[in-house]
Symmetry: C2
Subunit: 424 residues, 2 copies
């Protein structure tokens, strides 16, 4: 097979015809596959069913987790998440079932009122701004979009956000923060280098109350014997004299049950005091029974790591299958696409030739394979290069994933040839 | 024993001396009792332990409640709460563990952006206003206080808020809503009469987007064979042509576990659509596993009523003991206090002679009995008559409750005599 880029128009037309025939055959199978959702598969959820047998509700200090109280979370849960996030227990708030909900709350709080280190509420700017390393997590970007922030795209590199761009943009006082998924980023699976973390912590920002939304969503979701490691953002901020800058989040959604787990955050003591004081009117307490249940089940960081190994045994073959089929299905025809090869997390990115992502996703959909909308990982849903496709290999069974990836490769090829033929 | 009001100063002084001696004896027992908290007692929580044995997570329509999705709630949970609230399933959102959290969210939404029927966000008023039938639930009032509303006190009558006052106040466009605990109100235990409900539904309000925050917190918490009944606020509003006025709430916090239950709301379809659309950026989904667990356990309205009978068997003797000891301890000395006798709910009110509530609570505290701060049930924590004391009989064991009530009676007597002697 020849390089699409060095083919002439006739060769491209013939190759396109061949692929369209193949596409029609695949489409005729009546596929109904979904690679769009970053959801654990049912067999992953089954790994935690024993947790539901835990009937012990009494906290280690005697607190009855069934009753009201302890807004900050059960002491053992604070200690557990302190271990997860690399903070002290008193720097942790343990919340409900959603870390996104905690992040939303903090953006809303900053927007409405500001933080302890704010000169004014963020909404005193007609259009406050937020940095969005892209491609990134659409639900992050949407929170800030909902509150009327201008979303500023920062290119995502294999080492994290392009720090030259970040350092330039934070000279604007209206820039109030940055969204980060520092380990196994969504969707690339990139992890922030030590230099990136240190520069984020140390940089001078025009806004005195600049916040790093540090969503360590995949902090324990390794898929390799040589997992990525990141520095501790709270510690780095503290060392740089900016300890109120870091707001760190994690959840057990992809450890136990996505809809019924426990989320937590960590920040400086000053931030935690301020946040708890403001949370007081909002809720009496989170589900402490579920907090106790989770800590009893996972025990500690070793218990958590052992549990995540079980997830890895389910997920690693899926990621490997996708990577090997991409290699097989997209090679030998020139550099029509590249893709990321994460050591963990829930996603990988396929980057098509410029201008081919939307068309690829459309072709897939029309043949019965759902992918995340092209552009979804960019602010306002627009990928300026129309190149990124987010692949979520976790939910479908392996054989469906294989079928879907094979179809994807055919669609990438078709879209590329169509684009090249347009130009000729 | 003589009427305190017809005693002369010397008689009052002698009676006070006698009571102070009694008080010192009681205080010397080193009591450590708490009648301040509207919490279920541990034996009430034990009634629901079998719920934790339910391992079935699959919804009736096949939804895996463990995973992401279904922000509006599990279908069976929506139907269950539709029965509870008197609405259609599609008019219900099932939330997390806190109805207060849902109410907070809706006040925040109205404040920030308004509702579907709003001409503008409520925060376009420098000082929007909210009606607070008082005495009422302090955590309601605090939500609106936190968002900068001016809290307008409406006298609470045995039939609900004084509707003459309400109808006068809602002629002000800045008045955006009213807090209501319509059945067994906190703290009086009063229930809204049919006339009150109909007038609330039908009244003309200057604000087109006036909202009734209808917190049916004690909707199934009866303590009598002849329970109070209230009209359905959503239906009454609809009949009056104001169907977007009612936002109704309930929770299972005092049915199963206060910290780990399920809350829900109901409103017009237009409101529900608007609210769900706005909730989308905030959270992926609530804890559906807990929703399924609760519906499997309680089954339906009959199952719920049967479960609440078990609570009644624990609570009714406590309420009866308090009422009988109040009768015993506060009679024979003139009308120094009156108290409410609820058919359900979690509280009752003692009304002291004007100006005696704070002193009574202080005397109790100094002798080791914690009561809710006097005034807590009024906007800004100030009872203009300094008369209301909220009694929460549910949490302490019966014998502690009896001791605490006996002490309370002595303290009411002392405070009354002190006040009368002041005047002479």
């Amino acid at each position: 097979m020849a390089d699409y880029f060095s083919m002439d128009a006739q060769q491209r037309g013939e190759e396109l015809e061949r692929l369209r025939k193949l596409y029609r055959e695949l489409a005729a199978e009546g596929l109904k596959l979904d690679m769009s959702r970053g959801k654990p598969a049912p067999d992953q959820l089954d790994l935690s069913m024993d947790m539901l047998k835990i009937m012990d509700y009494r906290g280690e200090t005697g607190i009855d987790s069934r009753n009201y109280g302890s807004l900050e979370g059960m002491p053992e849960a604070r200690r557990f998440f302190a271990g997860f996030l690399g903070a002290k227990a008193e720097e942790v708030i343990v919340g409900g079932n959603s870390s996104l909900n905690m992040m939303y709350y903090l953006i809303e709080l900053g927007w409405r009122q500001g933080f302890a280190d704010s000169a004014a509420a963020w909404n005193t700017y007609a259009k406050p701004k937020f940095l969005c390393p892209s491609p990134g997590y659409d639900r992050h970007f949407r929170v800030t979009e909902y509150f009327g922030f201008e979303l500023l795209t920062v290119p995502m590199l294999p080492t994290g956000p392009d720090m030259d761009v970040v350092e330039r943009l934070v000279c604007d006082e209206a820039v109030k923060g940055i969204w980060c998924v520092p380990l196994y980023s969504n969707p690339d699976g990139y992890s922030y280098s030590d230099e990136t973390v240190r520069r984020l912590a140390a940089m001078e920002t025009a806004a005195p109350d600049f916040k790093i939304m540090w969503d360590n969503a995949y902090g324990v979701h390794h898929l390799s014997d040589h997992p990525d490691r990141i520095l501790n953002m709270l510690e780095e901020c503290r060392a740089a004299g900016h300890e109120d800058r870091a707001l760190m989040f994690c959840s057990l959604s992809k450890v136990t049950f996505p809809g019924a787990s426990v989320a937590a955050m960590a920040a400086s003591r000053r931030n935690i005091d301020y946040i708890l004081k403001n949370m007081f009117p909002m809720i009496i307490s989170y589900d402490k029974l579920n907090q106790v249940r989770h800590v009893r089940f996972l025990k500690d960081m070793d218990g958590l790591a052992a549990h995540m190994e079980k997830h890895r045994r389910i997920l690693e073959p899926k990621f490997k299958a996708v990577l090997s089929l991409l290699e097989e299905g997209l090679s030998g025809c020139g550099e029509i696409a590249r893709w990321t090869k994460p050591n963990g997390g829930y996603f990988l990115s396929v980057y098509t030739h410029e201008g081919c992502a939307k068309r690829t996703v459309q072709l897939c959909r029309e043949a019965g394979v759902a992918l995340t909308d092209a552009g979804a990982a960019y602010p306002y849903g627009v990928d300026p290069c129309d190149s990124n496709i987010r692949i979520a290999p976790t939910f479908p069974p392996l054989h469906e994933l294989e079928e879907a990836t094979r179809l994807l490769c055919v669609c990438v090829r078709i879209a590329t040839l169509e684009k090249l033929l347009e130009k000729t």
